[in-house]
Amino acid sequence: MTLEWLAPVPAILPLFGAGLALAMWRSKRAQLIISVVVLALVLAAALTLLLTVGDAPYVLDIGGWSAPVGINVVADRLAALMLTVSSAVTLCVLLYSMAQGLADGGEDTPVAIYHPTYLVLAAGVNMAFLAGDLFNLFVAFEVLLAASYVLITLGGTSARIRSGTIYIVVALVSSVIFLAAIALVYAATGTVNMAHVALRLPEIDPGVAQVLQLLLLLAFGIKAAMFPLHAWLPDSYPTAPAPVTAVFAGLLTKVGVYAIIRTQTLLFPGGTVDTLLLWLALATMIVGILGAVAQDDIKRLLSFTLVSHIGYMIFGIALSSQAGLTGSIFYVAHHITVQTTLFLVVGLVERRGGTTSLDRLGGLAKLAPGLAILFFIPAMNLSGIPPMSGFLGKVGLLQAGVADGTPLAWALVAGGVVTSLLTLYAIVKAWNKAFWQIPPAPLEGAPLPRGMVGPTTALVIFGLGLTVVAGPLYTYTEQAAANLRDRETYIVGVLPDGKRGTGESDEVVAEGGSS
């Protein structure tokens, strides 16, 4: 028996769990059990997909409705990798946030809605990774965005409402652009199934195809926080509760990057906008990291490094080469892990030090040596210090850039190492202040609950694990990139005869017609 049936599980199971958790709003315990079990099952499903998927993706026409009439979910190597990393991260963050909620006595977080919302967020992210249909991708974005609107304003403090407003309005604008783009895609090609669009786009006017490409790029670029569409991110993420910021920083921007990878490789091969993308990548890197250098709040600092390193991923995509794409995919997996971990650690710092302002923190290396280790490892990983995954991803991208050899690629290589150095500078500045300097005033912090330290440690180890399994993992991302660039396996997997999918709805019609 093949495992196609497993493909929709990561999306449908959390929704089911969300409904159940909300219906059982009276019992925190039941909610917790539901969430943990659901996310653990999703992780298991994702891992199974990751380990078993080959060159041919798992394709399932939902409800037997043959694509492109119906919707299909597609789990290829890239999707399976994204699912696995994101599931691991969401599970850890959930455990962390539960410990935080318990430690805070559940007073300032409405836990009853936290679980359902969090599960819906996970469902939306997973649905996006699995989407084989542009409109379904839009729906997935809506699902995860709606959940994120709720999470970012959790607790309703005025700071969160203010930053939430920026976040929500910008997200809505991007949704409108995305929706308009889908409508235009349908207008131009008569379909929204991605494999089908991929078949039809080369046959329509290339000018219009490029308009569509740029519109989709902008819509996803906003979500991925690509320059000049990024400014909303550092203004909105840092005020949310630590676990929320962690999961946003880790996952949501990467869903945007994923969508860019998917659409650019599948729908718009040939790299007609590569030059533009390379410039944007360079600007994203530099502007982002300068922002990080200018911060004195550690959460804002990390938000800016997040923006900056999106530039790396765009860089790899824009090279339109096997090596570049491989590097990007690897970097995405790395960055999800490390950025989430760091925000969780900063949550611990905030708890232990009572603040995230670098001017007021200090001496944490002595006060909390364990916390110092938990910060130092992912921080160095983010800065691309070998032999950690950040370094490996960076080397992959630099190799791709050097192999490309155009002047612009050289500029990106230079920009990449400068960004790397400035990241280190910003991180080291933060370390010097938060962990080494003598605090200007005694810190008013609480001890760290084991339940929060545990998941953080797990993620730190997971991040180090990416280095240990770097060999097979890198090979895997290479294969994923090859599949993406090949396109054929994907399209044939979805539409074996080039017309209809594997569902039986068209066959029923055909039978009905003949009888």
Partner: protein
């Protein structure tokens, strides 16, 4: 070799535990690890000499051509031996250097051992990327070690400076390595050096490698981090900043010199910066008063000399360079250890404060003097042998003026070395006639006294003495050293085999040495004069301050750029996004697409009317100052859209759109009760024009897209297959409904989760942590009729209420109402003035009809307009009517159920249908057609997707109920609570923005 590295890693991980268990004695245990490594290296000597040193390869990341490959050739072997042997000695020294009670020893020991491991890895790695891995690791560990005394600002600054500069160089080197790997097709050092690539890119790569070496080995102009790094504990200075880490740059140059020494830029860089560092370092060492700084600048000087020798590219120079590396490692480490002893014995390192230390600490002084003798090149020490060989090497090719200059430079540098070496010995150990006072001590009368000398443990002196004596011992067998090192020197492209010897006869080199010693000694004795001249010649330009200024500039630039981009203004961000839409796809549209040949403006004129309504109301909405007006205009625009749907023959969509608009309008009005009636901050006029321009441009661009996109379609749309398949496979005649609950049920499932989340989100903001807010049942209402009792209702619903109950107000008597017929159940909870008999009667009549209609819509949806979504909205509107007629208790009576339960059950049901189907058929959301014979009703034909639709229905009802409860009922309640505090007049309205 891999196992040795693992041993270091394990030792580093165990170190904190060991220190906790054994105290500072743990360093002795840890010293075993590098000692064993050194012993193993010694055991490999003959194999390395034969040229078949051990090789290990473990695959790691083949995708990046990065393997754990190690090779032990002469150079690696020699460097590794230095690194491990001195590492062991320094660890032994640490065991008595630190106070038994010193803090942070666990971390320190762990990092130091880890550093030793990384250093070993660096010199034995055969893969360039792997070498870089260890290279960066040494940088990071050195950062932690320099910052050991973290509460001193100087330590923190020095640590940061060191990591920024060396990583900067390291990254340049990484790019160089990658270029080389790309050009050579391999990252193996052994393969690359066997067949070095060539070309412009390779030359660039070679220079980038040199940049890495320069930063790591603290050559000018990036040398200043090394003196600053003296903030580290002395063992760190001895190990990292004398023997090991700073030698990494020298190693790198030595490693690549066989391949690249012939390149012009390489030679220029090596000679200029190497000799420059030799001179600048020596010159500045003369001016230092801190013993450690004397050594630090001395190290800069020596490192310059080393890089120069190994980078020059001749066999003689390479041999001399290697000998010098060994000699330097021994004497400089020994000298640092000596300074550490003096420091801990006297509490100062200022040579102007020290006097009589040599008498008090004879063993230490002996070590210091022996090591200095080697440093200044006195026979018969290792330093002498190496320096003689170096002079021979540079004298070989005395053809051009550059070569002459080189000889002069080397001689001058050596003379400076002699001068500051003597000054060091004098400063540390001599008994002086006068000293300066202790800057920290209180003012005293009379002659300032030298720092008192205490007697540290003798164990502290042995490591230094051992290293110093080692410098003598190896010099006595120079031919053996030559034999060991010449295999490497033989790989250099130019020159002839060099020699190491104690006595080569009266060669030119000998006379130069004599001259050097004479000048050096002279300069030492004339130190007062030299010092005065140096003060006179003082150049204000210091690399350190250039660095500081650069970093400050960088911070300023960062702040400026960020302030420019990060405006914190939502209109700015949205404007940027819209401009991007106009500029990027817009310009492509203008440049690359053709305008459609024929544009049909409308199908029927009614569409024009609908369009006019939509456009006009949208523009007016944007212009309106009153919130309520804007909301109503928005609703009008929405109804216009519904008209479009109707005109296009989509009654289903039109019905849904109208219901949605109705619900939205009511929700808005509920919200507006708590928001000021006018938009507060109107943008300035100029900004309004900009906004208008951006808006118009964006609108035109999108309009243009909508014109050009459909015109290029050449394919049949997929919707052509919908009607047949919806009927044959979905079992329904209403395509819209089948599409929603079956064909695209996957989307619908997602969308209802959006509804669920939106509902809970709204509720969470209103109820904050009290999600479980009560249900407002009528029996809980506390006696008096008080809902909506405020006297000054300002807007929205309350005003509506007032209008509806105008006649009731005139005859406001509670008894009279209590005798009235009960039309709605909680009517009595309402303030008497807010009740309306007509509204109550109408509600009574309408409610059940609407519910019935909703049920009809739900079940007929599959074949006629309707469906769960529309049905849910109708029920929602029915609930709204109840709420508007009777207040929150009426709502509680109408729907005595928690909305969370409805929402949760709805999603649970919809997703559950999918899951069940997944388990049964292996495909989620697959529907089955079921025909049943039911008595009375006859044949019932239904599709399992009905359950899915039921879930949709429940979620929609839950959503409306949740909104009514939070934005209606709960805000009422909060308003009344607030009203009790401030008096009845202020109830319910004029709350601040939430």
């Amino acid at each position: 070799m891999l196992s040795l590295l693992i041993a270091h890693a394990v030792a580093a991980l165990l170190a904190p535990t060991l220190v906790r268990a054994m105290g500072r004695k743990a360093f002795l245990a840890l010293a075993v690890v590098p000692a064993v490594a050194a012993a193993w290296l010694v055991s490999q000597t003959s194999a390395v000499l034969r040229g078949d040193g051990p090789v290990e390869v473990v695959r790691w990341v083949p995708g990046l051509s990065m393997d754990l490959s190690f090779q032990l050739d002469t150079l690696s072997w020699f460097m590794a031996l230095i690194v491990t042997a001195i590492g062991a000695v320094v660890l032994v020294y640490c065991a008595s250097y630190f106070a038994a009670s010193a803090a942070g020893l666990g971390r320190f020991s762990a990092v130091l051992v880890a550093f030793a491991g990384a250093m070993l890895g660096l010199v034995v790695a055969d893969d360039m990327l792997l070498m870089f891995v260890f290279w960066e690791l040494t940088t990071v560990f050195s950062y932690l070690l320099i910052g050991h005394y973290a509460d001193r600002k100087a330590s923190r600054r020095a640590a940061m400076q060191a990591i920024v500069i060396t990583t900067g160089g390291g990254l340049a080197m990484l790019v160089g390595v990658i270029i080389l790997g790309d050009a050579a097709g391999t990252y193996r050092l052994s393969e690359l050096l066997a067949d070095p690539p060539a070309g412009t890119a390779v030359t660039v790569a070679a220079v980038l490698l040199l940049v890495g070496a320069i930063t790591k080995s603290a050559l000018i102009p990036l040398h200043f981090w090394l003196p600053a790094a003296m903030a580290a504990p002395t063992p760190v200075s001895a190990y990292l900043h004398a023997a090991a880490m700073v030698k990494a740059g020298v190693y790198l140059v030595a490693r690549f010199a066989p391949a690249f020494a012939e390149l012009g830029p390489w030679r220029t860089t090596v000679v200029a910066l190497g000799l420059g560092s030799l001179l600048v370092g020596g010159y500045r060492a003369l001016r230092q008063n801190d013993l450690k700084l004397v050594l630090a600048f001395g190290t800069v000087s020596q490192l310059g000399f080393l890089v120069f020798l190994v980078g020059l590219g001749t066999q003689q120079a390479a041999l001399a360079g290697l000998a010098m590396i060994g000699a330097h490692a021994m004497f400089k480490a020994a000298l640092f250890l000596v300074v550490g002893i003096v420091d801990s014995a006297t509490g100062t390192r200022d040579l102007r404060r020290l006097s009589g230390v040599g008498k008090a600490l004879p063993v230490t002084a002996a070590a210091g003097i022996l090591a200095t003798a080697s440093m200044i090149g006195l026979p018969p020490f290792a330093g002498y042998v190496a320096k003689e060989a170096a002079l021979e090497a540079v004298l070989v090719s005395g053809e051009t003026w550059v070569d002459t200059l080189v000889v002069v430079g080397v001689a001058l540098g050596s003379a400076l070395t002699v001068a500051y070496g003597l000054r060091f010995v004098w400063g540390a150990f001599a008994t002086k006639s006068s000293v300066i006072p202790d800057p920290d001590a209180p003012e005293e009368d009379g002659e300032p006294r030298p720092a008192p000398v205490s007697r540290p443990a003798l164990l502290l002196a042995w490591p230094a003495l051992a290293l110093a004596v080692g410098g003598l011992a190896v010099a006595l067998v120079p031919h053996y050293g030559e034999q060991l090192l010449s295999p490497y020197a033989g790989t250099l492209p130019r020159g002839e085999a060099g020699h190491l010897t104690l006595w080569a006869g009266f060669t030119p080199a000998f006379f130069i040495t004599v001259a050097v010693l004479a000048v050096g000694v002279g300069a030492f004795f004339a130190r007062e004069l030299v010092s005065r001249v140096q003060t006179r010649l003082h150049v204000p330009l210091e690399a350190d301050s250039v660095y500081r200024r650069t970093m400050r500039r960088l911070d300023d630039l960062a702040a400026d750029v960020t302030a420019l981009v990060q405006r914190g203004s939502l209109p700015f961000y949205v404007g940027a996004i819209l401009l991007a839409v106009v500029v990027l796809p817009g310009s492509v549209m203008v440049a690359r697409t053709a305008w459609p040949a024929e544009v049909r403006l409308w199908d029927r004129p009614a569409q024009l009317a609908a369009a006019a309504i939509v456009v006009t109301s949208a523009i007016l909405a944007a212009r309106s100052r009153r919130r309520l007006k804007a909301v109503i205009l928005l609703g009008v625009s929405g109804f216009g859209i519904a008209m479009f749907f109707l005109l296009h023959g989509a009654p289903d969509l039109a019905l849904t759109q109208i219901l949605v608009e109705t619900v939205t309008l009511v929700v808005f009005v509920l919200v507006l009760r708590r928001i000021p009636p006018y938009f507060s901050d109107r943008p300035l006029a100029a900004s309004r024009w900009v906004r208008l321009a951006v808006g118009v441009a964006a609108g035109l661009a999108v309009g243009g897209f909508a014109l050009v996109a459909p015109a290029v379609r050449v394919h049949t749309p997929v919707s052509i297959d919908f009607p047949q398949e919806a009927y044959a496979y979905g079992g329904g005649k209403n395509i819209v409904n089948v599409a929603l609950v079956d064909i695209r049920a996957w989307d619908t499932m997602g969308e209802i989760s959006v509804l669920l989340v939106a509902a809970t989100g709204v509720a969470s903001l209103v109820f904050l942590s009290r999600r479980s807010g009560s249900l407002f049942r009528a029996e809980e209402a506390d006696g008096g009729a008080a809902v909506w009792a405020g006297k000054e209702p300002a807007s929205g619903v309350t005003r509506l209420q007032r209008a509806a109950s105008v006649h009731a107000r005139q005859a406001s008597s509670a008894e009279r109402y209590s005798r009235m017929r009960v039309w709605i159940r909680a009517g009595a909870t309402l303030a008497p003035g807010r009740r309306s008999v007509i509204f109550e009667v109408v509600t009574r009549l309408l409610f059940h009809v609407m519910i019935l209609y909703a049920v009809f819509l739900l079940f007929s949806g599959h074949n006629a307009p309707g469906g769960g979504f529309a049905a849910g909205l109708v029920v929602g509107i029915a609930l709204m009517v109840r709420y508007l007629a009777g207040g929150r208790y009426e709502l509680g009576e109408a729907a005595p159920v928690h909305p969370g339960l409805l929402l949760g059950t709805g999603l649970f049901l919809s997703a559950g249908v999918g899951l069940v189907s997944l388990l049964l058929t292996g495909n989620p959301l697959r529907s089955l057609l079921i025909d049943l014979q039911v008595p009375l009703l006859g044949e019932v034909h239904f599709v399992t997707s009905l359950f899915f639709d039921l879930g949709v229905f429940l979620v929609v009802v839950g959503l409306v109920l949740d909104i009514l409860r939070s934005l209606g009922a709960e805000i009422d309640r909060q308003g009344e609570l607030a009203g009790q505090d401030v008096g009845p007049g202020a109830a319910t309205v004029h709350g601040g923005g939430s």
